[in-house]
């Protein structure tokens, strides 16, 4: 259809065909009307040539509209005049076939003449339900009318102020919308014409509305344009309930929490047990009345389009399919600039526990995988391009300047185009342009599991450089970053076997601080196993360098660095002892100190060698691997300059050259022994040229070990080496332990520990150890990275074993939940077992496991079902309903004991053990046999403490359970169990 109807003020209505400049040619050329090739049609010139319909009396034609359902019908609204109809419906086919002039004048029903004003405003035809045509028009101010045409004489009259912009809902045959001249939109249901089913204001200032229109694509979207507004507003209307609002308010007043509760509990059985009480009755009453069930729409959302440069004149929905989540609006502003706006629906999002992301786009749901970076669609376009393209596409402006002489005052019609069916929308991911990106640009290629990726861009210098081999940062990969999230990494780690075993973990993680961390864990474990962490009577297992140096007891909190350290508890080692040790030839010398034992333990924790022979082996091994720099640096850090020179001289040319420099330095040093030369740093030749050369040379070096060597020989001060941040912390601390004086060492260690704790660097654990300070550090590490896996696994090694920390308990719990969520049940079980083993070791070493694990079995009375233990409230144990559980363990122990009678203590013991294991892999509660004698005097559990009934009798001796008998280990275990539970 390319006909245009033009109503003239004379009352004539012209039909103009738009696709040719010569009007009235019936050939179908198929040329679409295109807004970019505007044509001027001079109506005045060609008036005679157009077919036209004339009204009987000459008067203004206010509105014309084609019928949608029956396109050959044209309705014309005219000014009111006496003795004539002011709404006429023409059949244009008839008009065309019989040339001009033939008028078929459908008479509207008589009520038109009763209308008070002329037909003005707009007029719309639409299709209701069956195939009846209805034309509606506005009359003056107060009425909106509907006519069924042609034959049915019935009409519908709605008396309202909202008489403008009437439009029909294309998705609901009974619904239409209209607006008042002060900005209020009303939604009507034609079955219930007495009252608008929804009415809302479009804005605070009661500005009149120019136009409202339903979206032809999606139900319930109404766009409105306020007069002189630069933007459109879109209203999202959703179907509400079928009940009338009035009944709801009645129900409100009756609504009462108590009655609800009662009714809820009293309403037994039935499937819909909660659709009851007043609410339910109300529904019944309503449905009994004859009112049709009319949905009450609810205004859900509103939004506005981006403002145009000038105020808008008119708009229309674009009826073509853009995508199922996007609808388009075309608008024209006062400068005749036509703009289109795409309205996108908000995507719904959901995260899968494994790290994938589900995004809904209209009807399509996309899951972004987290396992592999996608090679196909997502990486291809350069991100900047993709992004800018997207931004353009988001709100596209077609700069379509119309000729100035053709001012558009009318409405923008819908380009009726059904031919195109667009491709389904595709999904792409891009990085925003210009964002330096925490992840994208400098991502480190990670071979195994690493959790240090979050720090990637800060850490590259550090991670790339440590130990054997220099791994250059891989080329940056652009992917979603989802694969690099800690949740994905932790899950992969769990699958690959990341566990409490430090040796395994070391191989899993890539080089970096995390590897250093696990290396320390491994060393600490070995030291602890060999009982090598004892100094005097203090056990320093899993303690860091700082508590070792401070000489803190096992669970003493380390002193903050600001306060003067307490020397009191440090086991002093006599200086003659240290000199004795010095004499042992193999030992690598350490600077004179009062804390030789502590320093040695610290060095062991840092992985430093204590003996020359061992050092030599390590250096030779490193040489064999070809990493001369590391070997030389390693020897150098132990103060073995000769060894270092030897290593360097075997390297390539550059290293050979270096060996000469270092050898020269060594000769220059006054003292003969290497250690003396190094420690007597202050006597260095203050040759400034030499120093400057060395310094500049050291800065040129890329290898941190070489750099460290040079920075030392330039100044002769080990503190310069400590400043070399690209060395691992273990190396630096080793150097500090070996060469710094006591005071310097403490200051250095304390300040380093503090800064590492605050920044949550996990390798700082070398200094703090798995102490409370260490947990502080781990907390900060978790805060920063979210890597709960590492901290849980590491801290579980030591935490319930040496001391308790509520934070670690939380971590363990959260991590176990997380594994469950990933359905890695076996991994969780293995973790539980490993934790149990760790606990078991601690029970063997004399620490009571009972202090660490909550009681897991309880004995209850046969009569009242209460626990035998007095006033027992089980902390932390709650049932599903959130109530405290009084009894767990299912009465097993009670029957077990009574049935077994005089069965030995081991029976009960075994039972506890197995139940403890079942309850989460925690070790046997430590009920030591033989404690019964002590407990028997005060706590005789002969009667149940709550109901005072006697306890069951033993089947063999017929004594009540709990009666103490001499040497009866079974009862001993029994009463000690009672003690233990009551002690909880």
């Amino acid at each position: 259809m390319d006909l245009t109807a033009v109503g003239l003020t004379t009352g004539r209505t012209l039909l103009i065909r738009m696709h040719r400049s010569e009007p009235w040619i019936f050939e179908e050329k198929g040329n679409d009307f295109r807004p970019d090739t505007p044509r001027q049609v001079s109506i005045a010139q060609n008036q005679r040539t157009y077919p036209s319909f004339s009204a009987r009396h000459s008067r203004a034609c206010n509105v014309v509209a084609f019928s949608k359902g029956c396109p050959n019908l044209l309705a014309v609204g005219l000014d009111k005049v006496r003795n004539d109809y002011c709404l006429m419906v023409w059949d244009i086919e008839q008009a065309m076939s019989s040339s001009r002039g033939t008028e078929s004048n459908y008479a509207p029903s008589g009520s038109i003449n009763g209308g008070s004003r002329s037909a003005s405003g707009s007029l719309q035809t639409s299709r209701f339900g069956r195939t009846t045509e209805i034309a509606e028009s506005y009359f003056g101010k107060d009425f909106a009318k509907g006519y069924e045409d042609p034959n049915s004489p019935s009409s519908m009259v709605i008396s309202t102020k909202a008489v403008h912009g009437l439009c029909m809902d294309p998705f609901n045959d009974n619904r239409m919308a209209s607006c008042t001249d002060d900005g209020n939109i009303s939604i009507w249901d034609i079955r219930k014409p007495t009252q608008a089913i929804l009415s809302f204001d479009t804005g605070p200032q009661k500005a009149p509305l120019v136009r409202i229109q339903f979206n032809p694509q999606r139900s319930g979207l109404i766009a409105s344009l306020t007069k002189d507004a630069p933007c459109l507003k879109v209203w999202d209307i959703q179907e509400g309930t079928v009940r009338a609002p009035r009944s709801v308010s009645r129900m409100d007043s009756n609504h009462n929490l108590d009655s609800n509760m009662q009714q809820g509990s009293g309403n037994a059985g039935g499937i819909l047990s909660r659709s009851h009480d007043r609410d339910g009755l109300q529904t019944v009453r309503e449905s009994e009345s004859d009112e049709p069930e009319i949905g009450i729409p609810i205004l859900w959302k509103s939004r506005r389009t981006k403002p145009s440069s000038k105020s808008l004149q008119s708009f229309a929905w674009i009826p073509t399919f853009v995508s199922n989540s996007t609808s388009g609006l075309i608008s024209i502003n006062k400068e005749s600039l036509i703009e289109t706006t795409l309205l996108k629906e908000t995507s719904q999002i959901a995260w899968e526990p494994r790290g994938a992301l589900a995004v809904s786009d209209g009807n399509i749901i996309s899951c972004f995988p987290s396992r592999r970076p996608s090679d196909g669609t997502t990486t291809e376009p350069a991100p900047q391009i993709a992004f800018s393209e997207m931004r353009k596409r988001n709100s596209k402006v077609i700069n379509l300047q119309l000729p100035a002489n053709r001012k558009l005052n009318g409405e923008v019609g819908n380009a009726s185009d059904t031919g195109s069916f667009n491709q389904p929308p595709s999904i792409s991911i891009m990085l925003p342009a210009g964002l330096p990106g925490p992840l994208g640009t400098e991502g480190v290629k990670v071979s195994g599991v690493t959790s240090s990726h979050v720090d990637a861009n800060r850490r590259t210098s550090l991670t790339a450089v440590v130990n054997n081999g220099w791994i250059p940062p891989a080329a940056s990969q652009i992917d979603t970053g989802l694969e690099q999230d800690i949740s994905v990494i932790m899950r992969e780690g769990a699958i690959k076997g990341y566990c409490m075993d430090a040796a395994i973990n070391m191989n899993l993680v890539g080089p970096g601080t995390l590897k250093d961390f696990w290396a320390w864990m491994l060393r600490a474990e070995k030291i602890a196993q060999k009982d090598g962490a004892r100094i005097g009577k203090f056990d320093f297992s899993y303690q860091g360098v700082l508590p070792v140096l401070l000489g803190n007891g096992v669970s003493r909190r380390s002193t903050p660095s600001g306060t003067p350290r307490s020397m009191s508890s440090i086991p002093r080692i006599s200086s003659d002892l240290s000199s004795q040790l010095l004499k042992q030839g193999d030992e690598i010398p350490i600077v004179p100190t009062l804390k030789l034992a502590q320093r040695k333990l610290g060095l062991k924790l840092c992985g430093s060698e204590l003996y020359r022979s061992e050092l030599k082996e390590t250096v030779e091994r490193l040489e064999g691997e070809g990493s001369y720099e590391v070997a030389a640096g390693w020897a150098f850090f132990h103060g073995e300059l000769d060894l270092a020179i030897g290593v360097l001289s075997r390297g390539d040319d550059k290293l050979k050259l270096m060996s000469i420099i270092v050898a020269g330095f060594n000769r220059n040093s006054t003292s003969g022994t290497t250690l003396g030369g190094l420690s007597g740093a202050n006597e260095k030749p203050s040759n400034s040229a030499w120093r400057a050369q060395c310094r500049s040379h050291s800065q040129e070096q890329s290898n941190p070990y070489i750099r460290a060597i040079f920075s030392y020989i330039s100044s002769g001060d080990w503190r310069d080496v400590l400043e070399e941040k690209s060395l691992t912390l273990a190396d630096r601390v080793g150097v500090a332990l070996r060469f710094l004086s006591d005071d310097e060492l403490m200051a250095y260690i304390q300040s380093t520990a503090e800064s590492l704790t605050n920044s949550g660097e996990i390798d700082g654990i070398i200094l703090t150890g798995l102490t409370e300070a260490g947990v502080d550090l781990l907390t900060n590490y978790v805060n920063r990275t979210g890597d709960i896996q590492t901290v849980t696994l590491a801290s579980s090694v030591a935490i319930p074993r040496y001391f308790k920390d509520i934070r670690v308990d939380e971590w363990v719990d959260i991590y176990r939940d997380l594994l469950d969520r990933w359905q890695l049940f076996y991994t969780r079980a293995r973790f539980d077992i490993a934790r149990g083993r760790s606990l078991q070791q601690s029970t063997q070493s004399g620490v009571s496991a009972a202090d660490m694990t909550p009681t897991q079995i309880y004995v209850r009375c046969n009569f009242c079902n209460q626990s035998i233990a007095r006033n027992l409230l089980i902390p932390g144990v709650r049932g599903r309903d959130g109530r405290r559980l009084i009894v767990t363990g299912g009465g097993g122990p009670g029957t077990g004991v009574s049935g077994a009678g005089h069965g030995n203590a081991l029976h009960g013991h075994d039972k506890q053990g197995s139940m403890g294991g079942a309850g989460g892999g925690v070790a046997v509660p430590g009920v030591a046999p033989g404690t019964g004698g002590g407990a028997s005097s005060s706590n005789k559990a002969v009667v149940c403490p709550s109901c005072s009934k006697p306890l069951p009798r033993c089947a063999i001796c017929l004594l009540h359970l709990g009666v103490p008998t001499e040497g009866n280990s079974a009862l001993g275990a029994w009463s000690s169990l009672g003690n233990k539970t009551s002690g909880e």
């Binding site: 179907e239 899968e352 526990p353 996608s374 196909g376 195109s420 491709q423 925003p432 970053g481 719990d813």
Partner: protein, 328 residues
């Protein structure tokens, strides 16, 4: 699996919510077409397969939430029809069927959000309706699920809110180691509030997350994951995504020992206007390390903290539209 898995939700209307179950192997979608569809993940093929679809409500279904799997396969959905329905999957002759086991219909407004409480609190359900009342229901008998008792009910603000401004939302704090808490977006007040139980077990509005320039459309409480602080994200009508950090207020609460309204110091650590349109959803990933937000601009943005703790946009996910009508 290295492609984006895409499938047609085949709903007849707009999808209002997408929800994964606890394990992430089932997916529920709900839509304006009044249906809920459940999808199962096929591990071997790497695709989502339709498991069941059923008409759930007499109006558009707004939100849906999965219960913890220990209670069985249980879904709750809320709708414009003012009801919350609890669904349970049952097997009849090897055919899966979702049955409405309970309908909660005390509200007098659209039920705007529904969420199951974290598992350690039992089988509980919090709902918030347009009238501004949060209600907490608990299943009395977890084996039958037919009886739900309202154990708590509190108003998020003063008086019922008006239609357009009436968007409420809630999110439970999933941490086991704090008292039960939730954050609620309080429609017309333009704030989100944290609610907690006082010593008399009455829910009280405590900390207030302010600074919003409009209605809070969505709130999301990040999984704690052992961190010493909590994170809450809000999506706001003013087009901003905000992240609030809750740190323990050591001076106030711990010293007095009693119950206090100020347990946390609330700081807004991030405020992004990148969407440049109303933001409707915010959602944290499982570890609370990535935040996703979705707005009227049709984009989903992902946010992540850098090494220094600054939150940055990580990527933009977009439903790209095909060649459209205007380019011809």
């Amino acid at each position: 699996m290295n492609q984006v898995t895409k499938f047609d939700g085949s709903h007849e209307d707009l999808i209002h919510d997408v929800a994964f179950n606890y394990y992430g192997n089932r997916l529920a979608t709900c839509s304006s077409d009044q249906k809920i569809k459940v999808w199962d993940y096929n591990e071997s093929d790497g695709i989502w397969e339709s498991s069941s679809a059923f008409k759930a409500h007499s109006c558009a279904v707004l939100k849906t939430s999965w219960a913890h799997p220990e209670y069985g396969q249980v879904l709750a959905s809320c709708s414009f029809d003012r009801s919350v329905i609890v669904w349970e999957e049952s097997y009849h002759d090897a055919a899966k069927k979702w049955t409405a086991v309970a309908t909660l219909r005390d509200g007098n407004g659209t039920v705007q959000d529904v969420e199951f409480a974290p598992n350690h609190l039992g089988l509980r359900l919090a709902i918030v309706a347009a009238d501004g009342l949060v209600k907490i229901y608990e299943a009395m008998d977890v084996t039958s699920l037919a009886h739900w008792t309202m154990i708590d009910s509190f108003a998020v603000g003063e008086g019922p809110s008006k239609d357009e401004e009436g968007n409420h939302c809630l999110s439970w704090c999933t941490s086991k180691f704090t008292t039960q808490m939730m954050v609620v977006g309080c429609a017309k007040d333009h704030v989100a509030k944290i609610f907690r139980q006082d010593p008399n077990n009455k829910w009280q509005a405590c900390e207030i997350l302010g600074g919003h320039g409009g209605v809070v459309h969505d709130v999301s409480w990040a999984p704690n994951m052992g961190r010493s602080y909590h994170l809450i994200a809000t999506a706001c009508k003013d087009g901003h995504v905000r992240i609030f950090k809750l740190t323990d207020d050591n001076q106030g609460g711990a010293m007095s020992g009693g119950w206090t309204r100020k347990l946390f110091i609330v700081t807004c650590i991030a405020d992004f206007a990148d969407h440049n349109a109303e933001v409707w959803r915010v959602e944290w990933n499982v570890t609370g390390t990535i935040l996703s937000s979705s707005g009227d601009d049709g984009k989903v943005r992902l946010w992540k903290a850098t090494y220094t703790g600054d939150w940055k946009c990580m990527s933009v996910v977009s439903a790209e539209d095909g060649p459209n009508a205007f380019q011809r």
